[in-house]
Every structure is written in C-alpha cells, then in structure tokens.
C-alpha cells in the first residue's frame, strides 16, 4: 500500500510538470462547454431569402414585409427574371425563393385561395424543414391579421413537456458533458500507460514489488481525480451558466457521474492494452472516438432516428447511456428506478473494458 502511494505521488509530479497540457486538460472542458453551449441551437435566425413577386400588390408587399420583419428571415433581393431564381440558390446567396402568384391579391380577399410557392435549397434538409415550418406559422398569422373573421381560432394547445421553452441548452449540454468527459479521460489514461510501455519503464515497474493491477490503479488514480474536478466544473457550468435544472437527486447524479468516469478511464486502459505506441493510442482516443461519440450517442442526432442496426450499435457507446441518465435526472427529475437499464449497461461495459484489459495485460506479462 505504501509503495502505491509513492507511485501515485510520482504520477502527480509528471502531470503537474507539464503545465501546458494541464491548462488544456482543465481549461478545455470549460471553454468547450461555454462555446458550444451557446452556439449549438436548432432555431434558425437570419436566413437569407429572395422574392419573385408577380402580384406586385399592397397585399403581397405586406406579406413580404411581415416575413422580413421577423428575426428568422432576411430579404436579400427581389428577383424580376424567373431564370435568375435557380442561380440565386446555386450561388448560395439565398436559402429560398418565395414566388407570389400574379392573382394573389385579387383572389385572396374573395375567399379563394391565394397561391404562393417556395423554392427551398434542400441541400441542407435541416434548414429546409425549419424554414417551411416557420413560414407556415407566419403565413397563418398573416391571414388571421388580414381577415380575422375568416380564420378559425386555435383549437389546439401545445404543451412542451420537460423543456417548455425548448431551450437548446437543455438539448445539447448533457451531450456535451458526456462527449468532453469521454474523450479527455480516455485520452489521458491511454497515453499515460502507453508512455511507460514506449519508454520501456513498464519493465522496471513490473520487476518492482508493485502488482500489475497496482501499477494500473496508480497510473489512473491521478487522472481520476483530475476528471472528478472536470465533472464538477462541467455540472456547475451547466447549472449556473446555462440554467440546467436539477430536478432529481444530486447524490444520484454524482454517483452516476462517477460510474461514467470510471467507464471512460477503463476505456482508456482498454485502448492502451491494445497498443504499445503512444501515437496509436492518441489517434484512437481522439480521432477514433471523436465522431462516433458525437454522432452515435444522441448528443446531436436523436438515436430514435437511426436505422435499427445503428440503434443497437449506439447501445455500446457509453455516452449514449450517460446522456439519457443526465437528461433523466436533471430535466425529468426521475429516480434510479427509471434508470436501472442505463446504469446496469454502463456498469457492464465498465467491467467488460476492465476484464479485457487485464487479460491482455497478463498475456503480455507471460511473454
């Protein structure tokens, strides 16, 4: 036990000696959370559009003004030649062209339908869908304002559950937390272990009275402590900067976070057990995990939208479960009884990572 403490002390000295990396390790999560927390949203603003107005009437002008007056859309140009419509889209100068029919102003007040057409740049389907939905609302509003008697009042009310204002922070912050923690922790543990192997220090450590598992524990504990500080930072930022609620139990949140942390560290150990080269370990931990963690975990794209095969695949990504847990505890305020599945999968994955690493490590020792 005493040796282990000396060993951990030595590891801490290594970490604190490289002050530049240390600043990055602590600063990075904070900067990322703040930067992306504010930048990632799915609400559109200032989408550029052009108008091809065949009606040239007061009514059509009022409609155009109303669309332009919102924060969502900015009128870039009036198009007078229909051949130019496509070019406006191709040259990326606008995202859609609004075409107003010539009899828009005549037919409209007499109870006939006024026609407008929308040419959408669907090369970004996300915006295209959003534009259509937003415009629909604006146009409904418009007809109500113009002819209050003709339009039926709302019969449908909508309640956005859990996140009444549909704040983007609620959607992205839990994902960011899981993403940042996974990569940083896996990166740190995998290089600290491969560095020893690469420099040949592992043999020296192995002939010391330390047992192999003690070596791994000793190497990982300092990073575990660093990561706990990171988790605390991230949770506090989420709460106080982005106004994430904490509707569930703080104790449960802390325990689940620790479990996830353990999982990420185990992932790092797993990576290092497969390679002797720091280069490879770094590339796998950063380049290899980057996109899968971002895209398969439900951080940005909902898991339920994926094909079935990928939905199964997303189940072996630890971040998937941690995001569900975070959202559950913080936003839904649910207890452990609703999260048993996610928690046990995380625990299982952790055990799996550790047992594979130990097996690999022992094989290496026998040689």
């Amino acid at each position: 036990m005493k040796e282990l403490i000396y060993f951990i002390k030595k590891e801490f000295l290594h970490i604190f000696r490289d002050s530049k990396s240390l600043i990055i390790l602590f600063g990075l999560p904070i900067i990322q959370i703040i930067l992306f927390g504010f930048a990632l949203t799915n609400e559109i603003t200032n989408v550029d559009f052009a108008v091809y107005d065949n009606s040239k009437s007061h009514t059509s002008q009022r409609l155009i003004n109303k669309i332009n007056a919102t924060d969502f859309f900015t009128l870039q140009a009036y198009i007078t030649n229909p051949d130019k419509m496509e070019e406006a889209l191709i040259s990326n100068s606008v995202k859609f062209v609004l075409v107003i029919d010539s009899d828009f102003a005549q037919s409209y007040p007499q109870g006939k339908q006024g026609k407008i057409q929308l040419l959408l740049d669907a090369s970004d389907p996300n915006i295209a869908t959003n534009i259509r939905a937003y415009l629909n609302n604006i146009i409904t509003d418009f007809s109500q304002e113009e002819f209050p008697s003709l339009e039926k009042s709302d019969f449908m009310t909508v309640k956005m559950f859990y996140n009444p204002q549909v704040k983007s922070a609620y959607l992205f912050i839990p994902g960011l937390m899981a993403f940042i923690l996974t990569l940083i922790s896996a990166f740190m543990t995998s290089i600290t272990l491969t560095r020893e192997k690469e420099l040949g220090n592992m043999e020296i450590l192995l002939i010391s009275p330390l047992k192999p598992y003690q070596i791994i524990v000793g190497k990982v504990i300092p990073y575990a402590i660093l990561s706990i500080i990171n988790i605390a930072n991230i949770l506090l930022l989420g709460k106080f900067v982005f106004g994430m609620p904490l509707n569930g139990s703080l104790l449960l949140l802390s325990l689940e976070s620790l479990l996830f942390l353990l999982n990420s560290l185990a992932l790092g150990i797993l990576i290092s057990s497969f390679t002797n080269s720091r280069q490879v370990a770094m590339m796998v931990a950063l380049a290899g995990l980057l996109l899968p963690t971002m895209l398969l975990s439900g951080f940005i794209f909902p898991v339920s939208n994926m094909p079935k095969v990928l939905q199964y695949f997303s189940q072996v990504i630890p971040a998937t479960h941690f995001i569900t847990i975070l959202k559950g505890i913080m936003i839904k305020g649910i207890g452990i009884s609703y999260l048993i599945k996610e928690t046990s999968i995380l625990a299982l994955l952790t055990l799996l990572f550790i047992s594979i690493s130990i097996k690999k490590f022992n094989v290496r020792l026998d040689k």
Partner: protein
C-alpha cells in the same frame, strides 16, 4: 527539387511502414463514413404517441386507426389518467401525448374544442418536427368534420435534394471532417516527433531550406488526404448513391486549397509544441471547434451572430459549402470565387506562419 523529392519519399516510407497507424489513417475514416452517414439524421421516421382520454370519447378507435394508418406514427396505448400517461414520457416510451378532454366532440362542434398536444422535448432536436407533423395530422383529421381550409396555399419544392435525404448531405460533410481530423492530427504529431527522437537536429545541420522542409512534410499528407477524399466520394456514390452533379476538377482545386490550409495549420501546431501529447491536445481543441462551428450538424443559420463570425473564419465551413454546392447543385467555379479567395488567403497566411514557425536555429 531533388531534395524535396527525397524528403517526400522518406515521409511516405515512414507512413506506410507504421503498421499501427495504417488502419487508423486509411480504414478508420472510410468505415466511420459508411456507418456514421446513417446516424446523422434529423429526419423522423417513427413518432411514438399515446392518447390520454379524460372522457372515454367514442371516436378513439377511429383516431387510433388513423394514427396506425399513418406511417409516421405508432400508437403506444391509451391512458385514462394523467399519471399513467406521464409515466410513459418519463420512461421515454412516447414522444407525444394527445390529450382529449371529456366533452371533446361536443365542444368541437361548437368550435370550442380543445385538444392538447404534449410533446416530449427530451430528444429536443426533433421536437419541433414532431410538433409540426402531429399538429398537421390532427388538423387534417379534424378538418374532416370541418370544411374550412387555409386561405393561403403554400406549395414548396425541395430543390437539389428532392426527398430531403440526410445521407446526401451528410456523406460529403462527414468525409470532409474525417479527412480533416486525420490530416491535422498526423501533421501536428509529425515535426514534434522528430524533435522528440532528435532527428530534427540532423536535418537542421543539413543544407535543406525551410520551404523544402515544410513542403516535404505537407505534400505527402496532401496526396494521401486527396486520395482518401476521392475514394470516399466514390464510395458514397456507389453505396449510397450520392449524386455528383458538378465538375470534379472544381472539387480537386478546392480540395488542394483546403488541404493547404489544414496541413499548414497542423504544421504550425507541430513546430511550436514541445511534446506529441501537447500537439495532439491543441489539435483536438481546434478540431472540435472546427467541427461544431462548421455548420454541418447544426446549421450556420441557427448560430448566434458571434458564432457566425467564428464559423466564417473556419476553413471547414467553406469547404463543406463547396462540397455540397458542387456535388448537389453543380455550382460552377466562378460562383464560388468567395470561398476560393478565403481558402487561398488563409492557406497563404498559415503556410507562411508554418514556415516561419519552423526554426532551423534556436
């Protein structure tokens, strides 16, 4: 010229001899491209709904069969009290609940009907879309009993991507990201690695110039990355049928300009870092910022103004725009001059910085 060739040959030999790295450089990006292209999708295929009925409304069977008939919706059940209905939300079983009060039919006929839609916003990226689908559906369902139709009829055409297929858009984007990640990481590690093993001194006492040195590092990576990009586009076309409407030459011109920027950037990091580990961390910081602000996953139009400026300053944004435009819209080179100027200017700047950052003498 011969010196440059010798440097390039040495780099290529080192890259192809590193058995641990080869799969990471070549196989990993393409496998990820194939898998992840399916994951990046906001398109909703299936919305799970339940009904919360306070009044045992007799038209529930009819509404249910309408829901079942519609390919977007799956009816998970009907509840008669609030707590059961909300438990379905808590468990994540349903995305939305249709709430009907006890006098629904009667009120509806007297134009005071109230329907409430409860939308689960936990998977929030899609909650807006769920809402619009569901309210469209309910609107249509209810207007069977009610003749009013909207006064303004809006028709729309989805240009360039008729079916709003996400893969069509994501394959080029993810490909760009994967290639950027690989090439920036590799160049960021490269020079600092020579520093760590000490071979850099041997190069520095030799009569090679800074330009030869930087060129010798940059060109091999550019060749590999360009090859991967082309291969990725071909795979996207063969497997996912991603269209390629524009001129391949335009893509090659832009790809070279883009790689010039990104590889110079990696070299700047590498010439200034002290250890490989530091270089990787710094490269990682920037790459994640590049990815998040590139407008690939959340569009540039939905970012706040300050983030928009960052997005415009990032080469990835411009290259993704170019890839989409050329592949899907067949945009000709002359309409993309703005992007080309930006890429060339930043390439020139970063390349100069990389060359200056490499110091033959301390």
């Amino acid at each position: 010229m011969r010196t440059l060739f010798i440097l390039i040959r040495k780099e290529l030999k080192q890259i192809f001899r590193n058995k641990g790295m080869l799969p990471i450089i070549f196989a990993m990006p393409l496998i990820q491209l194939l898998i992840l292209a399916n994951a990046a999708n906001y398109e909703i295929k299936n919305i799970n709904v339940s009904i919360l009925d306070y009044g045992k409304n007799d038209f529930i069977p009819e509404l249910s069969s309408h829901l079942e008939y519609n390919s977007y919706f799956t009816l998970k059940g009907v509840d008669y009290d609030y707590s059961n209905a909300i438990a379905r939300l808590d468990k994540g079983q349903v995305d939305a609940i249709i709430v009907l009060n006890n006098n629904f039919v009667r009120q509806f006929n007297s134009e005071e009907a109230q329907i409430q839609l409860i939308i689960n916003t936990i998977d929030g990226a899609s909650s807006g879309i769920i809402l619009s689908y569901l309210s469209d559906f309910m609107g249509q369902y209810l207007s069977q009993n009610n003749s009013s139709s909207p006064l303004i009829n809006m028709q729309y055409t989805n240009k360039f991507n008729l079916k709003l297929d996400y893969k069509t858009v994501m394959v080029p984007g993810i490909l760009v990201i994967l290639i950027s990640v690989i090439s920036v990481f590799l160049t960021a590690m490269n020079v600092v690695r020579e520093k760590e093993i000490g071979t850099i001194d041997q190069l520095n006492v030799s009569p090679i110039t800074k330009l030869q040195f930087i060129g010798g590092k940059l060109i091999p990576m550019a060749v590999i990355a360009l090859g991967e990009l082309m291969f990725g586009i071909a795979i996207g076309r063969l497997i996912y049928g991603i269209p390629f409407m524009g001129n391949p030459i335009t893509i090659i011109i832009f790809a070279l300009a883009y790689l010039w920027v990104m590889l110079s950037f990696g070299l700047i990091i590498s010439t200034r870092a002290e250890t490989q580990q530091q270089a990787m961390l710094i490269a990682y910081v920037f790459l994640v910022i590049f990815i998040m602000f590139s407008g690939l996953f959340t569009s540039v139009e939905s970012m706040p103004t300050w983030a928009n400026y960052i997005s415009q300053a990032i080469p990835v944004t411009h290259f993704i725009t170019v890839m989409r435009s050329v592949m899907l819209k067949a945009t000709p080179l002359h309409l993309l001059y703005k992007e080309l100027i930006i890429l060339l200017a930043s390439g020139g700047l970063l390349f100069t910085l990389a060359t200056l950052g490499y110091k033959k003498t301390e």
